[in-house]
Amino acid sequence: MNFTLKVWRQKPGEKGKLVTYDSKDISADASFLEMLDVVNERLIEAGQTPIAFDHDCREGICGMCGCVVNGFAHGHQSGTTLCQLHMREFKDGSVIYIEPWRSKAFPVIADLIVDRSAFDAIITAGGYISIRTGSAPDGNAIPISKDVADAAMDVAECIGCGACVAACPNASAMLFTSAKISQLALLPQGQPERMTRAQRMVRAMEDAGFGACTNHGECEAACPKEISMNNIARLNREFIGASVKK
């Protein structure tokens, strides 16, 4: 297959621009990142700087990869990360736009690589249960109904890739933040810190410079793990409740 790529190239401290590359003789079975590998190999052989992009596990779980492809975070296929998207999903001969996640809170490091440490800052603010190693009671001491455990697992699947922010018209991080808050608010272990957690995580999110949620639902549609935006309502409730009571 042959493609024309329009790739965002940006060096640190400089303004970026879209640069056109030919991507020829690509196997239909190649993944999107493997296609970029091939393009990069050819760029290196031609003495040019290869396209910098983030990637690691290449099986859709580490959350490292991600670009906006033809206007869609992680590409147009639903429920997939960029590394799981295959070239057979594209039309032969088509033009493909590849851009980094765009958000003030995710500054571009180089080309398609952005700095997502703002997500870590949100978790650092309270995305945990404080339990000293070795001081935990027996695993079966607190029974948790299967429904609750399943609901917590649904949100715990978040891979922290940032597609929700990238796809949101407002560059809001509410889906990401709500996933962690929901997981811990659902579980009995998360109750003692429930109030402070909601307050601190929301404030860290606001400080990082993300936009506000205006309920477009683009995050949910782009999320490779298909996390529901109902969690955003839960986040709002947790935060409002915490603000009223504390």
Partner: protein, 637 residues
């Protein structure tokens, strides 16, 4: 090289407790004076960083990804073992210990494995308390499943993403300590050198992958939690960034490298489909519970699988191993697949694949029943291959998955360099020659949460708090070395990309030191590696410079170390003329083509010592004795 394992004596169930009591402690007020470097943020690295920080130590945690949550532990699917015996099916610490030693083909240290089994229960408690959403029964208790041929149900799991959930648990504990200002994170930073002075590890040299800055960091102890070296084979189930550099650099500074030839080949992966392929995707072993593995009886049968009648199919695992059938251990299943493919009966365009057929399961359980058990895996398979496994059989082939070998450590998890510790997959300690399913997560967390935090205190209490200045000549020299290597790589200006060398090396190892190794194949690999190495240093091409983000440069440095490391891997395989676990020597097999161990000669861990550039490394041995698990030949007939 002195190999003192410091293994305690006495009844095995009391060894760890007695040993812990004898360990020196660091006074709580003094702990905050010590600084510990942890390299890696996977299960082992994150859990160790968090726990050490909770105890009061200052921790600097380094990792090459952008967030600690991305370490490759996250990709583990199946589960984590623990001897909770919640199922009352006869499990116990002793049984988990026994199964692990036996599964490792009697090549692990009994004392270490027993300790692992003991703390396995604490891990589950800890993770539950952190909010890890393990699968539950309707009554609200933790659910278990059986795994990897074990006869009890002791595996705890969180759907098909157990590794992810456990890592996110450890990551959350780590971030709590970041919040408490006890841990400093160094993201997008890779370790290039270990700084050793007078036999003691004093710090590391790193490269900031964003700015290209080479920096040194001093500490009272260095913990390597840098994972395995499976990517030496180029194609593996590891993440693209996994590398051997940190461990290999430690080896070059005097850390013994144990059993590098022990690599685990996982039987159920999606087959290779092209030259451009960058990695292999694992399909959980649990698929073998309901899928039947077969190939056509006749060579070169090109019909589509559904057109091949029942009597022309060879369900070779069921035929050869009637009692275990499709559920034989990983090493056995992998070798059997290789055998039928070598006979020319492999399937798919490359002929390197076998069928994993769910048609029986679909007719027995219904499509919904199958979906309930394996829905996410089927979905993943279809995404990658564009084939519907409910209708046509999956094609699978073995792939490199895990490395049991690693830095040699004593009972304290300390390498042969004082103050340099290795935990998780980076060390060699607990799995012997073959790792059982759902045991890797257990070991990573055991080391990080419950073992290292105790044993490191003993070392720190002994040496006291006297960090080496970063102006010291050893630091200066290490920084120079790291800078020198970067400029050398950039200065070659040849024709070939780092990836092309990596692919060549990987294929060489896979063909000659993969699922089966022979004297001849290993010698030919040993002859070829230096040639690849020579060409690498003469014909490598790395564009750009070292003072900015340069992914080609990162890759080049890692490939350089893979090439060097592959030599000891092959040498180790050559020296071990027996077959055991994941290491199958063609010359050592039974009349029925099964692996044949040689306990008389090889009941030991082989530990390689670096002797300088151009000199052959020296092989040392740590003899293994078995008081509680009497070695027997494994049989799955």
């Amino acid at each position: 090289m002195k190999l003192d394992s410091k293994t305690p004596d006495g009844p095995i169930e009391k060894r760890w407790d007695d040993y812990k009591f004898r360990l020196k402690l660091v006074n709580p007020a003094n702990k905050r004076k010590f600084k510990i470097i942890v390299v890696g943020s996977g299960l082992a690295g994150a859990s160790a960083s968090a726990t050490l920080a909770e105890l009061g130590y200052n921790v600097d945690c380094f990792f090459y990804q952008d967030s600690p949550r991305r370490a490759h532990s996250i990709a583990a699917q199946g589960g984590i073992n623990a001897a909770k015996n919640y199922q009352s099916d006869g499990d116990s610490i002793h049984r988990l210990f026994y199964d692990t030693v036996k599964g490792g083909d009697y090549r692990a240290r009994e004392s270490n494995v027993y300790r692992l089994a003991q703390v396995s229960n604490n891990i589950i408690d800890q993770c539950v308390a952190q909010g890890v959403p393990f699968a539950r029964e309707y009554g609200g208790n933790l659910a278990n499943r059986s795994f990897g041929g074990a006869q009890v149900s002791r595996t705890f799991y969180a759907r098909g993403q157990t590794g992810q959930q456990l890592l996110l648990g450890a990551y959350s504990a780590l971030m709590a300590q970041v919040n408490a200002k006890k841990v400093q994170l160094h993201r997008r930073t890779e370790m290039l050198e270990l700084v050793v002075a007078e036999g003691r590890a004093r710090g590391i040299v790193t490269r900031n992958m964003v700015t290209g800055q080479i920096e040194s960091h001093a500490a009272d102890a260095v913990v390597l939690a840098t994972g395995g070296y499976g990517n030496v084979f180029y194609l593996s189930t590891n993440a693209k960034g996994c590398n051997v550099t940190a461990a290999y650099r430690a080896y070059k500074k005097g850390a013994g490298f144990a059993n590098p030839c022990y690599t685990q080949i996982h039987p159920t992966c999606i087959p290779v489909h092209g030259e451009y392929q960058s990695k292999l995707t694992l399909m959980s072993e649990s698929l073998r519970n309901d899928g039947r593995i077969w190939v056509p009886k006749n060579k070169g049968d090109a019909r589509v699988p559904t057109q091949i009648p029942e009597n022309e199919r060879d369900y070779y695992l069921e035929r050869r191993y009637p009692s275990f059938g499709n559920l034989v251990p990983r090493d056995v299943a992998s070798r059997a697949a290789k055998k039928v493919c070598d006979e020319g009966r492999g399937v798919g365009s490359t002929g390197l694949g076998v069928y994993l057929d769910f048609s029986d399961a679909v007719s027995r359980l219904g499509k919904d029943g199958v979906r309930e058990r394996y829905g996410n895996l089927f979905h993943m398979y279809e995404k990658i291959t564009a084939e519907n496994p409910y209708k046509v059989p999956m094609r699978i082939f073995p792939a490199v998955h895990y490395t049991m070998g690693g830095l040699w450590v004593d009972y304290n998890l300390m390498t042969t360099i004082d103050g340099c510790f290795a935990i998780g997959e980076a060390n060699f300690s607990d799995h012997g020659a073959n790792r059982l399913g759902a045991s890797a997560l257990m070991q990573g967390l055991a080391d990080g949460y419950f073992i290292l935090p105790y044993t490191i205190g003993d070392y720190l209490a002994t040496v006291g708090n006297n960090p080496l200045s970063r102006d010291d000549k050893h630091f200066v020299k290490s920084v120079e070395d790291a800078n020198g290597k970067v400029s050398t790589l950039l200065g070659i200006k040849g024709e070939r990309t780092p990836d092309s060398f990596h692919r060549e090396l990987g294929k060489l190892l896979w063909d000659n030191c993969g699922m089966a190794r022979s004297d001849e194949s290993l010698k030919s690999a040993l002859a070829r590696i230096p040639q690849i190495k020579d060409e690498f240093w003469q014909n490598l091409k790395v564009p750009g410079n070292g003072r900015e983000l340069n992914q080609t440069l990162e890759m080049a440095g890692r490939v350089a170390d893979f090439i060097d490391f592959s030599e000891i891997l092959v040498k180790d395989a050559l020296a071990r003329t027996e077959s055991c676990g994941g290491h199958f020597r063609v010359e050592s097999q039974t009349d029925e083509n099964e692996a044949k161990r040689d306990d008389a000669q090889f009941s030991h861990a082989a530990v390689w010592e670096y002797k300088g550039e151009g000199s052959a490394p020296e092989r040392h041995v740590e003899p293994l004795s078995f008081e509680y698990c009497k070695p027997s030949q494994r049989s799955y007939k």
